[in-house]
Structure formats: structure tokens, C-alpha cells
Symmetry: C2
Subunit: 143 residues, 2 copies
DNA sequence: TCTCGATCCTCCAGTCTCTGGAGAATTTAG
DNA sequence: CTAAATTCTCCAGAGACTGGAGGATCGAGA
């Protein structure tokens, strides 16, 4: 049984791998809600904050911009709304995610081929550039 | 039959979707080699530059840091070396790529569920946060 | 209870990755 | 041969952090 604890910002940082100044920065730009303070003005966090922050961290690592994360979080915060105006938004994000998966799979196959080639002591030429450069893997119409 | 052309920086920008100042910036930090200049000091590019730049753009969009891209490009530039010291590097990148694919697939499934729920006019709760927050999808041991 | 090392606070300056404007030179379309 | 479009360099600004200075607070041990 976890839960029920109130975390300091340092403990939250340790639990999520996000640095303390970064946590404060996320609060300042509204990605994280303003944390409740103790009598001596220190921020306190609960398990919900841990999940939210981990989500933000992973999404950032995956290359999503803060604005996209903000939208994703807003959908998660309000599960009733997506069925109305946020539906298109969700579909757009879905297409973007699928595009990224396709490109990453192409890159993975190519890097894997490089590694395999090494295992067999073969010398192969490397096509990582061509793979990711290939426009076919890209959903955007703006280039 | 394409090829054989020498591109201006503006044409390269149009072809790749990378803005002109960004192209110059990439050159300044060494991601792109110094472009040959015309008599009047203007940069010229060939098809190889197009591919390299598209690769950089896609890799950045996928969230890879400049340093990782630099390493990937170095491997591509020198296909003989990966079999020696760069093998571990390639495997590390491979693991990172696979981790990203896994996390993106989890996110995709969840967003897809949201969209599907909308299609059926159902109200579902959204678990995108829990999905990406899940440590199981994360390869890093440093958090 | 007192103390001192760890942690927190705010404020602010710096880094990295772009992005865009100013002013001047060059190219190119009409 | 103009006039508009492009390019050049330099430099400033934006977005997303990151870290240090100076000061307050906490918490474990003497």
C-alpha cells in the first residue's frame, strides 16, 4: 500500500527524475498546478503529481512540445470534453504519434541491421540517413 | 532523373522544410559541413545535403538530441567503424529507439481508445497520463 | 535545546536550439 | 537596366530548461 504521503519537491524530483528547478519551471508555465504550500512556504505534492510529472517528462523525451502536452493533459483532466471539440485534436495527435512510430521503426530496423552486420563481422554500408530522410515516412504535407 | 543540381540555401530550405536560419545554425554547430560557396559567397548544396538535413530534421522531431544525431551521422559517414568501437553506441541507440517505440505505442493505444470512445458517443475516462507515467515502459535506470 | 548540514525558497543569469530582424550585397525576372 | 527577391553577417529574442547567490527552514544528533 503506497500513497497517502505528502512529498517535498526534492522527493518528487527523485521519484520522477525531473530536476527541482525544472519542476518549479513547469509550475511557472502552468504545466503543473500550483503546489499547495506548508506553513513555511514549501511546496507539497501527492501521487497524482508524480504521475502527471512523469507523463510530462516522458512526453518531452518523446519530442512533444509543451503546447501539445498541455492539450493532452487538458483532455486527460476533462474526459467528457474530448467527445466534443477535442476530438479533432485527439485525432491529430494520434496521426502524429503514428507517424513517429513509423519513422522510429524504420530507424530501428536500420540501426538493427548495422548491429547485426557487426555481429557477423561484415562490413555493411549504413543507410540510417536515407531511412529517416525518406519522405514516405512523414505525414506532414507542409514540406 | 533528378540530381546534378546545385541548390541555393532557399531551395534546400523548401525541399527539406528546414528554415534558412536553422540551416545556417546547423552548419555553425557542425551538424552540417561548411557548404561550398559561390564566387559571391553564397552557400551551395547538393542532394547529399538534402538527405542529411532531412535526417537531422526527422531525428530532431523524434526527440533525439543534437549530440545523438551527431553520433548517428558519424556512424553513417564511416560505415567501417561501427564494427569496432561504435558497436556499443549503436546498441545503446537501438535500445533507446525501442524504448521510444514502446512508449509511443502505449500512448497511441490510449489516445486511440479516446477517439474510439468518441466515435461511439461514449464517455470514457482518459488514462494517457497513467500510460506514459508507467515506469515499465522506460528503459532508464536512473530514475 | 542548540546547532549545523541538508533542503527549500525567490530571483536572476546563463545555456542550448532555434528564429527572426537590420543593413548591405548579389541575383534574377520583367 | 531597374526593382523585387535572395543571400550574406551579425545580433537580439524566444522556448525550455539549468544552476548559482543569498536567505529561511528543517531535522538529526550532542
Amino acid at each position: 500500500m503506497p500513497t497517502m504521503s505528502s512529498l517535498t519537491i526534492g522527493a518528487l524530483a527523485k521519484r520522477t527524475g525531473v530536476k527541482i528547478p525544472t519542476i518549479r519551471y513547469y509550475e511557472s508555465i502552468g504545466l503543473l498546478p500550483e503546489a499547495p504550500r506548508t506553513g513555511s512556504n514549501r511546496r507539497t505534492y501527492d501521487d497524482k503529481a508524480v504521475n502527471r510529472l512523469r507523463f510530462i517528462r516522458h512526453a518531452r523525451e518523446l519530442g512533444f512540445e509543451v503546447e501539445a502536452i498541455r492539450q493532452l493533459l487538458a483532455m486527460a483532466d476533462d474526459p467528457g470534453r474530448p467527445c466534443r471539440d477535442a476530438d479533432l485534436l485527439a485525432r491529430t495527435h494520434l496521426a502524429e504519434i503514428e507517424s513517429r512510430i513509423a519513422r522510429l521503426e524504420a530507424l530501428r530496423d536500420e540501426v538493427r541491421r548495422m548491429v547485426d552486420g557487426c555481429a557477423q563481422d561484415q562490413v555493411r554500408s549504413c543507410h540510417v540517413i536515407e531511412v529517416l530522410a525518406d519522405h514516405a515516412h512523414c505525414l506532414h504535407d507542409r514540406h
